[in-house]
């Protein structure tokens, strides 16, 4: 009863990967392939399309288990390099969030603050193999008498270290400008007054969820490139919203889908997990993620061949409108093609644009994932459950 001319399964594609015969291309290369062969032929030829993104992802952190101490302790306060980790879980477990600042950080007292070190930097230090200082305290119990403990540790000393991010990989996002009269310092970078510059953040045509706009193949259990190692999609991310306005190609016209991911930090690299300091805003972590998309049919070929010129991005005022929280329509829409060219038009005024997420690194991630799959080491994880999605009428024609 299939409506498609090409029908492949995860199992078939994985069999080809194991044999080393799977055809794998990046989402950038897929644009040309679909143009040249048409979606049906492209779907026959290509088995997997790899994507990538490397940007600031604030909703990230790590679960760390630092091992039982002698005598035993149920830590109720934990600091790593002076950054507090949440310790309201079992004895020697804690969760360090990437936006947590150092204890003595001056924050925004001298504006704009520099936020030089925070949870994201701790995670980078750990995956880089650098030594960190763990300091814990407790109220002491009969079974866990120890009240304080201090140790210099590196990642290999932690029995478990798991990157666990509640919301990553926003599917599309805003292009930020500032209509107010003063320079503002935001999570979308520095924005000069009177709409003098615009910032945007995603890898567009290489971005994972923009290549599978209806989450047909990305779901719970998808195996991914995470921070230079291997991770998994473990569910929809917080604020996942499939019901955002979509263009005819099914692509969302603003922030919409998100994913939650998990992976063992011990296989990760500081190249793809980088602590970030956003002046006037706070600390965060740049996370590298790459997701393979199986080309199960010609519709997936169409989806993965989306190009920057076909992805619409809302232009949003971060000077007044965004901070107020009041719903208001965007100032307009631009495409990633325009944003990448370095200049957009807002109300008849030409303004320069800067990306915040690294396209060069996104490309490297998509290429690395391609190599992993081609070598036969990296098999596709078939989702055990889907992410909430939206209706799609199908491509016209």
């Amino acid at each position: 009863m299939s409506e498609f001319k090409v029908n492949k399964t995860f199992a078939e594609i994985n069999a080809k990967i194991r044999q080393g015969t799977a055809v794998v291309v990046t989402a950038e290369e897929m644009i040309g392939a679909t143009k040249e062969y048409g979606p049906v032929e492209a779907a026959r030829k290509v088995d997997v399309v790899t994507t990538g993104t490397f940007g600031i992802m604030c909703s990230s952190g790590a679960f760390l288990n630092f091992g039982h101490t002698k005598p035993r302790m149920r830590a109720s306060k934990v600091f790593i390099n002076d950054v507090e980790a949440y310790a309201g879980i079992a004895a020697v477990d804690c969760y360090i969030g990437v936006t947590q600042t150092r204890e003595d950080d001056p924050l925004n007292k001298v504006f704009p603050g520099r936020f030089r070190y925070g949870g994201g930097h701790v995670i980078e230090d750990l995956v880089a193999g650098r030594e960190v200082l763990l300091q814990t305290s407790s109220y002491g119990t009969d079974c866990y008498p120890n009240r304080s403990y201090e140790a210099k540790m590196t990642l290999k000393d932690f029995p478990d270290a798991v990157l666990l991010n509640p919301r990553n990989c926003y599917q599309n996002y805003n292009c930020a400008v500032n209509l107010s009269k003063k320079t503002i310092y935001t999570y979308m970078g520095i924005l000069r007054p009177d709409c003098m510059n615009a910032n945007f953040s995603t890898s567009g045509q290489l971005s994972p969820l923009l290549n599978d706009p209806l989450y047909r193949t990305i779901g719970i259990g998808t195996r991914i490139f995470l921070g230079g190692g291997i991770g998994y999609v473990i569910g929809a991310g917080t604020q996942h919203n499939p019901n955002v306005k979509r263009s005819k190609n099914g692509v969302v016209m603003g922030g919409a889908g998100t994913i939650s991911v998990r992976g063992d930090m011990k296989g990760m690299s500081p190249k793809y997990l980088r602590g970030a300091s956003l002046t006037g805003y706070g600390c965060s972590l740049n996370v590298g993620i790459g997701i393979p998309i199986p080309i199960l049919n010609e519709e997936m070929a169409r989806f993965t061949s989306v190009s920057d010129d076909e992805i619409m991005v809302p232009v949003v005022d971060y000077g007044v409108s965004y901070p107020s929280g009041e719903p208001s329509p965007p100032l307009g829409y631009v495409t990633y093609g325009q944003l990448r060219n370095g200049e957009i038009d807002v109300d008849g005024k030409k303004i320069p644009t800067s990306p915040l997420s690294s396209y060069a690194a996104a490309r490297e991630i998509a290429e690395t994932l391609k190599d992993w799959i081609k070598s036969g080491e990296f098999l596709l994880g078939e989702p055990q459950d889907r992410l909430p999605s939206a209706k799609f009428e199908g491509f016209e024609d």
């Binding site: 490397f54 300091s277 740049n286 370095g342 990306p355 690194a361």
Partner: protein, 148 residues
């Protein structure tokens, strides 16, 4: 024709001496003032773009030094720590002189120190601390904290 961006520091004893005009008169150098800051009775700092042939630029710099002007090549003071740069591009839209720009189609960020005017913007913007010592005009720098 070569071009060099140099930082001139005039200590208080020579601050008001006329020397710069002689670069043009005696050395036939073209100079372009990119940025200047004078802290009254303390020191003056001028960021100058010098244009001429290499030899004349050298001679002009020697002349300034002979007149007790501290001359620093901007390229020695301002740099990018390439290992720290992730080529995100966040700095490119705010750099006033296109010293930081995105190459196409590679989409890597290039830094051309010859275009840099040490405004300090990229130092504020870069999330990874890749742009080093780009605030030559920081009023709190170099023991001038009492200037507050």
């Amino acid at each position: 024709m070569a071009s060099r961006n140099v930082l001139l520091i005039f200590k208080s004893n020579i601050m008001y001496k006329p020397v710069i005009y002689r670069l043009a008169r005696d050395f036939d150098l073209i100079f372009n003032i990119l940025e200047a800051k004078i802290l009254p009775r303390r020191e003056g700092r001028i960021l100058l773009e010098l244009r001429g042939d290499d030899e004349t630029i050298e001679k002009g710099i020697k002349f300034l030094q002979d007149h007790q002007v501290v001359v620093e090549l901007l390229a020695d003071k301002v740099w990018r720590e390439d290992d720290l740069c992730v080529h995100c591009g966040a700095c490119t839209g705010l750099c006033p002189t296109e010293a930081l720009s995105l190459s196409r189609p590679e989409l890597k960020v290039l830094f051309d120190v010859q275009k840099c005017v040490a405004c300090g913007m990229c130092g504020l913007v870069c999330p990874f601390g890749a742009m080093k010592d780009v605030t030559l005009f920081d009023p709190f720098a170099e023991g001038r904290a009492e200037e507050k």
